[in-house]
Amino acid sequence: MPDNNPFPLPKDELLDAYRRMRTIREFEERLHVDFARGDIPGFVHLYAGEEAAAVGIMKHLWDGDHIASTHRGHGHCIAKGVDVVAMMKEIYGKKGGACEGKGGSMHIADLSKGMMGANGILGAGAPLVCGAALAAKYRAKQKGGPSDVAISFVGDGASNQGTFLESLNLAAVWNLPAIFVVENNGYAESTARDYGTAVDSYVDRAAGFGLPGITVDGTDFFAVYEAAGEVIRRAREGGGPSLLECKMVRFHGHFEGDAQTYRAKGELEDIRANRDCLQRFTQAILGAKAVSEAELQAIDRDVLGLIERAVAEAKAAPPPDAADLTTDVYVRY
């Protein structure tokens, strides 16, 4: 008789994936509430609904791998292992934040975890990833063995930026261990993809630069996990760059406060009911009896406690000092 786990990850890894996805979900839903109260400075762009992509990819990475994120970066940070309390402090603009409270939501970075930063500029992460991938390629050549990789996340809108297209070209000609993940949630801010993108297939874009590209259902953790495993392995072993399009849905507006009048009637209700990646994952692992409900509930309690503590510490922390204004502007790597 086979055991109860039919999945390509052992039980503790399934629970870890659940914990990361649940943490992202609760983190974002809490920000949704706190932002509406006026507690948070600046803008926030929430990743709720898209968790399977970040976690399905990041489960294959180690700290030496680099990622460059987007406006919608909280999910990438949490999935890559950035400290949740430090993130919350950063978003609240407080001392002790991931960037000492001076960056805010769109600039969370933690180089110790290989997280090069969320980014306020659309498509700006892709060239950074080429640099990180070039460094990784050189290091691998020196030490031998599989290379670290660098992954650029962009949305479907940012994939129209020149920086992104130039980076595909650069990564291809230098055969970099780089992966370009297009998180396609169907809207560039409020513009539907088929309205603003001449060639709608991101795989076609990759082909234009001679890169292989694939599309996966970004709401299916196991589909992302398997596909990401192959593109990352390929990059580590010298197979060069590739593009991974994850088709996904976002539960909230482009930014908090977005009235989302561009959505079809009933669209949000439908995606929450039928395309919730966390729900799909939970049903799959519970349905197969690979994990127990009690184990998931224990994680839920931990996560809620963590978010509560993060918010409390963020609120209690002092703002950065004026004297620190120029600290960390330039950093030695």
Binding site: M1, V203, D204, P212, I214, A223, E226, A227, K247
Partner: protein, 383 residues
């Protein structure tokens, strides 16, 4: 007989003029309410899966899919088809095709009137199911399908649901997928001509259509029965999850059931094709038991089980699969891959059977259409 003597509607004099004027600009056709209707389902997301990473599988770009559609439309128009109803999508085909059709309109080139089905695209296989149903309800004479084995399977599944196979709408397949065992590699201009001849009534069903086999897969548990179909192959794997869907690893392959198996095929059906070929139009299929356990293995077989992947497959046994006889799968838990994609997981206590069905659905036999048309002189123009 010649094209212009074969009963074009009276208002198609402009179309006849195209025969005297082979070079652009050609006049446009105008649709009439009773004009023959052809359906067109072009899957924008076929050939996008993981096999591009693991096996350098081809990637037919959207721009080329649109070109394929445009060529089929042009030759459908040349045979007098004035209305084409298409599946809409949000992945770029509709948007790009609409731009092209506007340009063709500006250039006064002859094209059918293209309308899109009234459905809200979800960018999932549900679009294909719904489009096939709407085309059936709209009374399409035939449906041209662009996609791989998976797309064709979805269209057929919908068309034969509750329908008599002798009356289900015939399909004409154009290969734009990864594993192309079912749709043949054809030039869409010729497919447009053949489908046009059938849709406009110049070729009868007996002349134009061919019967096809399929596999009925059922999974029976205490909760009921799940059913699905495969057009070419149903493969059983010891994998127990769906994941990225495509099945490309020979490890874990337990058995393969085949409706037909051609030695020149790519994909899992190549296993049968290289063991004991069975033609598309021959009776019966083939059941192959693979040997993960070296002790049970009779011999190894080198087969191209995915694009770019010739792999050694351990063969335990193979036997003919007569129509109507259920073959039980003796594996405790695993996944059933239908036409190359993992679709149905099954667990301990569930009973999986695979049954071959003959005369299950009809396809437009392009080669035969063109041969009959040539023999009958259907393409000869009246002076």
């Amino acid at each position: 007989m010649c094209l212009s003597s074969l009963g074009f509607p009276a208002n198609h004099s402009d179309l006849e003029a195209t025969h005297d004027m082979p070079s652009p600009p050609l006049p446009r056709t105008t649709a009439t309410p009773d004009a023959p209707l052809v359906g067109l389902i072009a899957n924008p997301v076929s050939a996008r899966d993981i096999r591009r990473i693991v096996a350098n599988a081809s990637n037919l770009q959207l721009a080329d899919r649109v070109n394929i559609v445009l060529r089929a439309l042009a030759t459908l128009a040349a045979t007098g088809v004035t209305r084409v109803l298409m599946m809409p999508d949000r992945a770029g085909i509709r948007a790009m095709l609409s731009r092209h059709l506007q340009r063709e309109h500006n250039l006064q080139h002859a094209f059918p009137q293209v309308e899109f089905l009234d459905l809200e695209p979800t960018s999932t296989v549900d679009d294909t199911f719904l489009a096939a149903r709407l085309l059936r309800e709209a009374g399409a004479a035939a449906i041209i399908v662009l996609g791989g084995d998976g797309t064709h399977r979805a269209v057929v599944r919908e068309l034969i649901a509750g329908a008599d196979s002798s009356t289900a709408i015939p399909i004409a397949g154009l290969s734009t997928g990864t594993n192309n065992a079912f749709p043949e590699l054809r030039e869409s201009s010729v497919v447009g001509l053949a489908v046009g001849l059938y849709a406009t009534g110049r070729l009868s069903a007996e002349q134009a259509l061919a019967p096809n086999k399929l596999l009925d897969v059922s999974i029976q548990s205490g909760d009921g029965i799940r059913r699905d179909i495969a057009l070419v192959d149903a493969a059983i794997s010891t994998d127990r999850y769906i994941g990225a869907r495509a099945l490309w690893k020979p490890e874990g392959l337990h058995s393969v059931f085949l409706t037909f198996a051609e030695p020149h095929a790519i994909g899992l059906s190549s296993i049968g094709g290289l063991l004991a070929p069975i033609a598309r139009d021959a009776p019966g299929g083939l059941a192959v038991r693979l040997a993960a356990d070296p002790a049970r293995r009779q011999f190894g077989l080198l087969a191209p089980i995915a694009p770019g992947m010739a792999r050694e497959i351990g063969i335990e046994q193979f036997e003919p699969m007569p129509a109507g006889r259920p073959f039980a799968v003796d594996l405790d838990a695993g996944v059933v891959a239908l036409d190359g994609e993992r679709e149905l997981t099954f667990k301990s206590g569930e009973r999986v059977t695979v049954t071959l069905r003959e005369n299950a659905f009809r396809t437009v036999d392009i080669a035969r259409c063109m041969r009959v048309a040539a023999t009958a002189g259907l393409f000869r123009l009246c002076s």
